[in-house]
């Protein structure tokens, strides 16, 4: 895949590789030299089966783990050289990033705004606007542990963008959610793109990728096999359904 070396795109990923050492299986290449770019106001989807390398890629991009080789830049901040700059520029949301149960919804958003370096004098106004935007006014003063799953999802998304990042990463955000809550999350992702943010979104649910993503990268065994718009993928394969397209790339022609 061609990558703009100037790094002007908000997200530039270049030959990112991650290997792990496993006692029984030896060295595992979880991510194997992947590259891609994301544009402004775009929802970029990473579509892959479980264990394809989606989460590892997103964790490297979010500086939770370091790459074995290769690099990525988020708004010009290098994930290895300037991890704090990267984390200031982006919000990270996944099914495994939980909320502090003993803080209230408002305290949670406030805390994440502060710790992600949002200007102190604007924190309260930002919290108020997020509370209103996500419709959590009624339970803003309630501890997170007492909220329903749907309410927690809203607070979780609000805390992800508490510091107003231009890039937001969603790692399989609808896992374990019922249809209604999943739709709420999808709506929130849509709205974030409308705000002009770059959204990177990983999923293994075809319908979700079809519905939400401007461009889709099919990832399998740590490699990107294809990356294009849905229309482009259809044109390249001559298939209509994303599931068929996915299977074609992953299994090869029947």
């Amino acid at each position: 895949m061609q990558v703009d070396p100037s790094g002007e795109a908000p997200v530039v990923v270049c030959n990112l590789t991650k290997t792990f050492l496993d006692q029984s299986r030896g060295t595992i290449r979880a991510v194997d030299g992947i590259s891609f770019q994301c544009r402004e106001s775009e929802i970029f989807g990473l579509l892959g089966a479980n264990g394809a390398g989606k989460t590892t890629t997103l964790r490297m991009m979010s500086t939770i783990i370091t790459p074995t080789s290769g690099t990525a830049k988020m708004l010009g901040h290098d994930i290895v050289k300037d991890p704090s700059g990267v984390r200031r520029s982006m919000g990270f949301y996944s099914a495994s990033t939980a909320l502090y149960p003993r803080l209230t919804a408002r305290e949670t958003i406030e805390f994440f705004a502060r710790i992600n370096q949002y200007p102190e004098e604007k924190v309260q106004a930002r919290v108020n606007s997020l509370v209103e935007r996500f419709g959590i006014t009624e339970y803003a003063g309630v501890r997170v542990e007492k909220l329903s799953t749907g309410m927690k999802q809203k607070v979780s998304i609000a805390r992800t963008i508490a510091h107003n990042p231009r890039i937001v990463v969603f790692d399989e955000p609808t896992i374990g959610l019922d249809v209604l809550n999943a739709l709420e999350v999808q709506k929130a992702i849509h709205d974030l793109r409308s705000d002009g943010r770059t959204v990177i979104f990983s999923t293994h649910i075809m319908s979700e990728a079809e519905k939400l993503c401007d461009r889709i990268a099919i990832i399998h065994r740590g490699r990107i096999l294809a990356c294009d718009t849905l229309a482009g993928l259809r044109e390249a394969t001559g298939l209509h359904y994303l599931e068929d397209i996915f299977l074609l790339y992953v299994r090869g022609p029947a």
Binding site: S62, I64, P83, R87, R88, S94, A98
Partner: protein, 422 residues
């Protein structure tokens, strides 16, 4: 380090902690109410036990009571709790538990007749039975009164004073003041309890802020924030140390208050004053702070290998035992605070507390103690800092196993094992 971030993280930890029942109970409530509660329980138990004992009759046999001392028999009969028995085989009866005390009156052999009716008294009792010991105490109380009157009367007959008649008389005089006695008692109790409470105050927060966060899934959330791992570590460390220190201080205050107001209830000397010299307070505070920092570091390092709160408890509990165990050695009042003792962690601080409470300041071992504690705290922090730089540690790829982590550590140069981004 960014102190603004550390403050934000620290306040978040404190706020969460004060809303967690377990932490509030272990770090605040137990240190405050433990002593009043214990004293109340002991007092109630003692009152109950003495009430029960007061109802019991002591069965006594008098053997060979001289005629001159029949008045003693009458004095004993006047006692509501003493029953004078006749027994054919008192030695058997006392072993069988049907008799509590045998009193034998014996002639003093080869002694000059200082006074008419001069006799010796042998008491036979069963120390393994509380009733028998009580009978002995009751009899001695009556006997002492009777004996005092008898000696006074005989001395008057001989035209001498009671002191002259008694001859080799022993009198005791305690030169220590009530406050010195109070400090001695405090010196024995307070250091041990302070160390235990410092550890108790730290254990729950240390597990909650490490293993608890992993279990709740907030560990990864925290790692996606813009602050550095170092700031997160420092904030958590200060938070656990604070909880430990607060528990220790609250406990000392509760202990002083309780002892001051309740010691008389327990049968202790009521005039004792439990006051720590003002000059000792900085030493105690500094020692408690250093120990809190040491405990917090040790517990956090161990607990952070755990994936769940339960795992954390099983990893930290042995540390707690190992931490408290050396205190056994300072239970002897004669244990001195030497430079060698000052090299033993925990024991050295406890001995420093004891000295300070007693109002003594032996600066050489104290300086060694402080230096040793600073060394241990620095070493523990160095280990903690090294750990948070390890990706396999932070991401729990060692599966919460300390042994597995060490194995991986040995192979640190292997591919994909580098430190993670700060």
């Amino acid at each position: 380090m960014n102190w603004k971030d550390i403050r934000t993280l620290y306040l978040r930890e404190l706020r969460s902690a004060l809303r967690e029942r377990g932490i509030v109970v272990y770090s605040i409530i137990i240190p405050v109410v433990l002593y009043p509660l214990l004293i109340w329980l002991v007092y109630s138990a003692l009152t109950y036990a003495s009430g029960q004992a007061a109802e019991l009759k002591s069965h006594i046999v008098l053997r060979n009571l001289p005629v001159a001392h029949f008045a003693l028999r009458r004095a004993l009969q006047a006692e509501r709790t003493i029953e004078i028995e006749d027994s054919e085989n008192p030695d058997h009866d006392i072993r069988a538990g049907t008799l509590d005390l045998i009193v034998d009156f014996v002639q003093v052999q080869d002694a000059p007749p200082l006074a008419e009716g001069n006799v010796g008294v042998h008491l036979t009792y069963d120390a393994s039975r509380d009733e028998s010991a009580t009978a002995k105490a009751r009899f001695k109380r009556v006997l002492d009164r009777y004996r005092d009157r008898f000696i006074e009367r005989e001395a008057a007959k001989l035209g001498v004073t009671r002191t002259q008649l008694q001859g080799f008389r022993v009198e005791e005089l305690n030169v220590s003041s009530n406050s010195e006695m109070g400090r001695f008692v405090l010196g024995l109790l307070l250091p041990v309890m302070l160390v235990i409470m410092l550890a108790m105050g730290a254990i729950y927060p240390a597990i909650d802020t490490t293993a608890g966060e992993r279990e709740n899934g907030t560990w990864e959330t925290m790692m996606t924030t813009a602050t550095s791992r170092e700031n997160i570590l420092v904030a958590k460390y200060l938070y656990v140390s604070t909880m430990s220190f607060v528990a220790g201080c609250l406990n000392v205050m509760a202990m002083m208050f309780t002892m001051r107001s309740n010691i008389a209830l327990l049968g202790g000397p009521s005039g004792l004053t439990f006051q720590v010299p003002l000059a000792s307070i900085p030493v105690i505070v500094a020692g408690a702070a250093l120990l809190a920092l040491f405990i917090a570091a040790g517990m956090m390092i161990l607990a952070s290998f755990a994936r769940t709160f339960k795992e954390g408890q099983s990893l930290v509990s042995p540390f707690m035992v190992a931490f408290v165990f050396p205190l056994v050695f300072i239970q002897s009042p004669s244990q001195e605070f030497t430079t060698r003792v000052a090299l033993i962690p925990v024991v050295n601080v406890a001995m420093m507390f004891r000295q300070a409470i007693g109002g003594y300041f032996d600066w050489k071992p104290m300086a060694i103690t402080i230096a040793m504690e600073i060394f241990f705290v620095t070493a523990a922090l160095k280990i903690a800092t090294t750990l948070v730089e390890r990706e396999d540690f932070m991401m729990d790829t060692s599966g919460g196993a300390f042994r597995r982590f060490l194995k991986r550590w040995m192979r640190r140069n292997a591919e994909g094992e580098g430190p993670i981004a700060g």
